[in-house]
């Protein structure tokens, strides 16, 4: 799993994932999301376009990141999850928890609307 972090402007963070988000790689993502929450981000977009497999550990890492960000008054949006990830999100009803967008730009501008 490759994790790339981009900060297009202050308070906005794009986390681009590539590969498999499973029990082996999820702890790394969780740590990164918590680190981002600590530095105080308003809106984080996790780009899931290149995630070809996610399991419950991956979902747990996303939920953990979401909660950490919410505590700091931030938000976590998902962008372009693929079929396999959508199935996992739907079956766990997490599709009702995470705002899901069809592009990173859309997810980011949503953050702009919410920003004070």
């Amino acid at each position: 799993m490759k994790i790339e972090i981009e900060r297009p402007k202050p308070g906005r963070v794009i986390v681009r994932l590539q590969g498999r988000l499973d029990a082996d790689t999820a702890p790394g993502l969780k740590e990164q999301l918590h680190e981002i929450a600590r530095t105080g981000a308003e809106s984080v977009v996790v780009d899931m376009q290149a995630v070809d497999f996610i399991d419950s550990s991956g979902l747990s890492a996303l939920v953990s990141g979401l909660k950490a960000l919410r505590q700091q008054g931030g938000a976590l949006n998902l962008s372009q999850p693929q079929t396999q990830a959508l199935t996992a999100l739907r079956l766990t009803m997490l599709d009702r928890v995470f705002p899901i967008f069809t592009s990173v730009e859309e997810a980011l501008s949503e953050g702009d609307l919410l920003a004070p």
Binding site: R20, D22, A23, F53, S56, S57, Q84, L91, L94
Partner: protein, 672 residues
């Protein structure tokens, strides 16, 4: 203090090598003007010295060279270094600093040891010689090396002759600077104190006189032991017809020289030993080739049966062996042999068994008779070799479905009884071969029904050892067999071998591993594909299973490609959740392995997983709705498994095993 100097020199040399990939040596000491302080051209004097004293072609050709004198003198003067490197990136600057360090250390050493100039000079020159030969790694023949050492030493000391004695307990030979023969060199070696210091004539004379050595009559004698790794490899010494002509400085000089030469001889011998072991290795390779050629080129094709075999020696050549021959009445006879011991003697015995089995199988049709004959013929050889052999012979019946076997003290063969879905073990029916020439064996008939599998193997399988020191055992083998059926025989073999590797974890193979499998084909074989697997209890291993299932995607009997892919993805996710659960909950941090199989059927995907962890009852775990304002961080695995699968059960098997059964039906998609 000498140690300090050597340490400083070594660390400088190491540093130089890591920085430049070149080499470095002390060429001299004192205020002699260097031929060139810095430059790429090697001074003529050094070039000459190199050509005379060392065959280092590399040093004579165009790489970067420096001959540097330390900028400031130590107490005994300046130090001169020669250094070389594949290129020049301004390394000369470092050399200036390092030679200064050396000059300083040399001064300290001299003060402490009261070394004479001659000693330092000789030490430097020998270090030079030693370092060159050492670095080059192309030490010439030992005799040439020893002659040049005595000649070199003779130039430095004022002695009529310099001698060197080397060899071992089978004989000692001398070389002298004068070319004269040294009388009775062995007497010197046998009487030298091995403490490592040189001794004078007074100390060794009584012993030499006792040994009636003419050396007891010389004017003066100094001799030092040559030690390498604590072993005495010879002596080096000075001889003179004048009485009491050697003093303490000669003694110190000899001590230094002896240390250098001892290390040099050790290095040369180690190299010779390496070459010898390479030669042996080559011979072993040939022997291994011969042994491999004794194995059957291919296994017989028998209607209704499938056969597969595997042999992996723990060392280059092994004591395990399997074979196939035709009985008098046309049936196939199988043999699996384990000769106690490994290496060449075991290999010779396996070749002998091979010859007897092939010679006798065609006269016999009963496994017990055949064992008896082999036992009688082998008896004298086994007695001489103080070895014994275990063997199992199986005759596959051509008419009815079944076999009969006889086992000479061999580890229990295993029989998978498909109808009962369990493993039965087939014990030995007599003593190992070579124990008792009059031993009688008996043959046991066994039915082989459709789906049944016979596993012949050597004890390298059941005695596979994990890092905790536990054997796989018959129990562990049962676990594997239980999980891999009803896969095809080649697949079963692959997973058994893989399971042994997983079980041993990082431990090397200690015993030969041999397997010979016979499977009676079931009638409905074509309608499904069985893929057995084994993984270690590690989260990192789960991705292998995900790959395995996803790779099945394109082969699923579903018409739409996208649906095939989704079906495989869903099943891979469910399987990985179950395995994650096994690893995190059933094993609770313990090591181990998980065996299982994935089955592709016409209407569904099935997986069975087996582990030896604590019991788990998924039905007892309640499913709480997810609160979208405060979603739980964990507990999504079971939710996924329930959502993805049509059937998911975990049952407890006897022997504290868990069996997980997963089914996903091809519903809502167009089947092929």
């Amino acid at each position: 203090m000498e140690g300090d100097l050597v340490a400083v020199f070594k660390s400088i040399k190491r540093l130089w090598h890591t920085t430049t990939e070149g080499g470095l040596a002390i060429v001299g000491r004192g205020d002699r003007p260097a031929g060139s302080v810095q430059g790429r051209k090697l001074p003529a004097a050094v070039r000459r010295a190199l050509i005379e004293e060392s065959p280092l072609d590399a040093l004579k050709t165009g790489r970067g060279f420096w001959w540097v004198t330390s900028p400031s003198p130590g107490l005994l003067g300046r130090v001169q270094l020669i250094a070389w490197a594949p290129n020049d990136k301004g390394w000369g600057h470092f050399l200036q600093i390092w030679t200064d360090m050396l000059a300083f250390s040399l001064g300290e050493k001299a003060v402490a040891d009261r070394l004479t100039e001659a000693l330092v000079d000789a030490w430097d020159r020998l270090t030079f010689l030693y370092e060159l030969t050492h670095i080059a790694g192309q030490v010439t023949e030992l005799p040439d090396m020893l002659s040049s050492i005595v000649r070199l030493l003779a130039q430095v000391v004022s002695a009529e002759d310099v001698f060197l004695v080397t060899g071992d307990d089978s004989g000692w030979e001398s070389v002298t600077a004068s070319g004269d023969l040294l009388p009775q060199p062995a007497a010197l070696v046998e009487n030298i104190p091995r403490a490592g210091r040189p001794v004078g004539l007074a100390e060794i004379q009584p012993a030499l006189a006792q040994a009636e050595s003419p050396l007891a009559q010389v004017g003066d004698l100094l001799v030092a032991p040559l030690l390498g790794e604590g072993n005495l490899s010879g002596v080096i010494g000075l001889l003179d017809s004048r009485q009491s002509c050697f003093d303490s400085s000669d003694m110190q000089l000899l001590a230094s020289v002896a240390e250098q030469v001892g290390a040099l001889i050790e290095a040369v011998r180690a190299r010779a030993a390496r070459q010898e072991s390479q030669r042996l290795e080559h011979e072993l390779e040939i022997a291994a080739g011969i042994q491999a050629s004794l194995l059957p080129v291919e296994l017989p094709r028998i209607a209704g049966l499938e056969l597969a075999a595997y042999l992996r020696p723990a060392r280059r050549i092994g004591g395990d062996f399997y074979d196939v021959a035709e009985a008098k009445t046309g049936e196939t006879m199988l043999l699996l042999v384990d000769v106690a011991g490994k290496g060449t003697p075991a290999a010779i015995l396996t070749a002998l068994v091979h010859a007897i089995f092939h010679g006798e199988a065609s006269h016999s049709r009963d496994p017990a008779d055949l064992l008896q004959v082999i036992n009688q013929i082998l008896q004298p050889d086994l007695e001489k070799a103080e070895a014994f052999v275990t063997a199992v012979i199986v005759r596959l019946e051509s008419e009815s479905i079944g076999f009969s076997y006889a086992s000479a003290g061999h580890v229990d063969a295993a029989h998978w009884r498909n109808r009962d879905q369990r493993v039965e073990f087939l014990p030995a029916t007599g003593l190992p071969l070579g124990i008792d020439p009059t031993c009688t064996y008996h043959s046991q008939p066994v039915a082989l029904n459709p789906g049944d599998v016979l596993y012949l193997y050597s004890d390298g399988v059941t005695e596979a050892e994990n890092p905790e020191g536990a054997f796989l055992g018959l129990r562990g083998l049962s676990d594997i067999i239980n999980a891999i059926n009803p896969a095809q025989v080649e697949e079963q073999l692959r997973i058994i071998v893989e399971s042994l590797d997983v079980y041993r974890r990082d431990l090397p193979l200690r015993d030969d591993v041999t397997l010979l499998l016979v499977r009676a084909l079931p009638e409905n074989e074509v309608s499904r594909e069985v893929i057995p697997f084994v993984i270690p209890v590690e989260l990192t291993a789960i991705s292998q299973l995900v790959d395995l299932v996803r790779n099945l995607g394109p082969t699923l009997p579903i018409s739409n490609a996208e649906h095939r892919r989704q079906m495989a993805d869903d099943f891979a996710l469910a399987l990985s959740e179950v395995v994650t659960n096994q690893i995190e909950h059933a094993f609770q941090g313990r090591k181990g392995q998980i065996y299982g199989r994935v089955i592709v059927e016409r209407e569904q995907l099935v997986a069975d997983l087996y582990d030896s962890g604590v019991p788990f009852q998924p039905s007892k775990i309640p499913q709480i709705p997810v609160d979208s304002d405060d979603p739980p961080e964990r507990g999504y695995g079971l939710r996924l498994v329930r959502g993805l699968l049509d059937i998911f059960v975990c049952r407890r098997l006897e022997g504290e095993r868990n069996h997980w059964h997963l089914v996903k039906k091809f519903s809502g998609v167009d089947k092929l």
